[in-house]
Symmetry: C2
């Protein structure tokens, strides 16, 4: 194995920042898209300077995914989610259910065995919190009711997505059995609830103790240790490490020491989260995207968009821009890519499916901003016309 | 290879912080000692939960060493070194020369071939800036003339040590030839001077450009990219990557953007630098420290101490606490451990020599504070007695 990883890291970070800037500035697209594209360009499909299959780089991508979900957890206010109201919950559950249902049917239709079809479908279940927030913020619409519904739903469906990941990655390796579904989902729920309950009691003590320490960076390293420990515990009980990292973030989100470690933890994420997305791109084999695979990927794009739009249109309540909500839920992102990454590492999915998932993430993120703009304009025009 | 690295990382960081705190608080010893000891305990010598030979962990240790030298470079004010005066330069050059000369003789006496003897001797050449600063600061003596001489000399001998490292790691693989010494040392000096000159011109432009970018963490990632790039260039011209990282730090030390990235870069170092020291410890095989090896290691401790004390005693000038300067120069640290780490990775040194180097670092750091206290008290008593 090639152990010279400093040059690949430098190239990946430089590419991610330069293309990320160009994409944000000129295309008004989130940097994450550019990071995936940089990976595809540096990876085996084009220049071949980054070997996405290198175990050291995969470990670094894994650290990146852990920090990504740790940050998502830190931003995730459980009380807010419990308050977020009926509409977000509705959109989240409807979106996940419709996506998984329709994608399973499509995947079966395309000839995938049922356990794999479920894995593919589940990969498309969760809307990306980060990308969605970015898109609404670019439209200066973060404070609208629709944006709040979408963001709430996106956080909720991340949690659902992580639980589904635990279930389907367990299932895909064994034959399908209802008892397995029950066992793995109970594991996941017990772990998440247990981690949050125990964590909420234990972490204030841990952090209080770390705060009294004189050694350098004690508080931020206590947070990192907690994150890594919970990620390893998740791994031990056959869940994805990122579930533990997310739980650690949720637990630490409400501590009063958060201000002391948040910036430092984010600085580590600044380096490793882009590397995760770039390495995900580098692992994509463009040549796996044959015309027939591309066609099936397109089918998934259409279904993935339709499922979320239908979920948005179905939301009850008066005066809600249902199209805005539905379109806002379209972008897939980190959770889908983590499905792809775990699926490939555990040999659950073929390079073709891997390429399809990355394709869907790129496509849904690309088409959302213009459609969302249209939907928003249309809704505002309707809303400004007094009801007759 | 075991790719489950989250648990080892969590354990290493937790151990480093807990033992580091205990060592600073109760033993008044720098945390770095505790980190090495944590590594020895977690490594194959005791519990075996951290496999120091794992390539992923070695890559992480490598990233840690790069960030360590990057930070040392960032703290290194070239103008200050040029101003630091004659005494520091004297102590540095005398210390390095006497250490290498006497240790080569000792190593040859112990039966090591000459190129390896030079590698061992060079490993003991540099005083640790970090540990020395810590020890003087614990004595509240950082502002004394002696402390300034020692710290200046420690920075200078780090630079000399890095150049010597470039020379001897090239030599140890080939047969000894004066032309090789000349070639490698010219390479190292041309690289360092070239990197600093080009860097000082190019980096203000690079950072100015990064500052205008809107994408997240552009300035700090520009600094990290520069560090990684220069580390890879150093690697390409057969020098150690840390030399490039150090040069990158020196180049960036004087930029006005330093305030914008320094904290963020240090936050990444907070995680990876302790991991470097812990993994160095984990790679030590205690069983390699047989009675005869331990005895030869003790010999190196005595010589390493004597060489620096003699260098201190030889310093010209009036009213200087020569013993304080000499004793202050005793602690070996990061540069010695990097020699050990590179030597083992490139199979230049045996486990016994590796263990001896780690032993010398631990021993010199342990004995310095009490002796320095004695030397300081003695000097103050003499100074307060009016000359008769």
């Amino acid at each position: 194995m090639d152990t010279h990883i400093l040059l690949p890291i430098a190239l990946m970070l430089a590419g991610a920042k330069i293309l990320g800037e160009a994409s944000e500035r000129f295309l008004k697209m989130p940097a994450v898209l550019a990071e995936i594209v940089v990976g595809i360009v540096l990876g085996k499909s084009v220049f071949g300077v980054v070997d996405g299959g290198n175990l050291i780089l995969q470990a670094i991508a894994g650290i990146g995914a852990v920090f990504l979900l740790f940050e998502v957890g830190l931003e995730c206010d459980l009380d807010e989610i419990f308050r977020v109201g009926f509409q977000s919950l509705w959109v989240a559950i409807a979106g996940v259910t419709i996506t998984i249902g329709s994608c399973v049917v499509a995947a079966r239709f395309l000839g995938h065995p049922s356990s794999q079809a479920l894995f593919i479908a589940a990969a498309f279940a969760s809307t990306s919190v980060g990308i969605t927030a970015r898109v609404f913020s670019d439209l200066s619409a973060l404070q609208t009711r629709e944006a709040r519904i979408v963001l709430g739903a996106a956080v909720v469906d991340d949690v659902i997505g992580l639980i589904v990941l635990a279930i389907v990655s367990g299932l895909a390796t064994t034959t399908f059995a209802v008892s397995d579904v029950f066992r793995t989902s109970s594991f996941a729920i017990i772990f998440l609830v247990g981690a949050v309950v125990i964590g909420r009691i234990a972490t204030p003590l841990l952090l209080k103790w770390a705060r009294k320490m004189k050694t350098r960076a004690a508080v931020s390293m206590a947070a990192v240790v907690l994150c890594m420990l919970m990620a390893s515990v998740a791994e031990m009980v056959q869940l994805a490490p990122i579930i533990g990292a997310f739980a650690a973030g949720v637990v630490l989100a409400k501590t009063q020491e958060k201000v002391r470690f948040e910036e430092k933890v984010k600085s580590i994420g600044d380096m490793f989260v882009p590397l995760f997305f770039v390495i995900v791109g580098a692992r994509m084999d463009l040549s796996a995207l044959t015309p027939s695979v591309a066609l099936s990927a397109l089918l998934f794009v259409v279904i993935a968009c339709a499922a979320k739009v239908i979920a948005g249109l179905s939301v009850p309540g008066k005066g809600i821009g249902r199209w805005v909500v539905g379109v806002g839920m379209i972008p897939r992102g980190e959770v889908s890519l983590i499905f792809a990454s775990i699926g490939q590492t555990q040999h659950l999915i073929s390079p073709a499916i891997y390429a399809s998932i990355v394709f869907v993430v790129i496509a849904t993120t690309f088409i959302t901003p213009p459609i969302l703009k249209l939907a928003t304009l249309r809704f505002e025009r309707q809303a400004s016309v007094p009801a007759t």
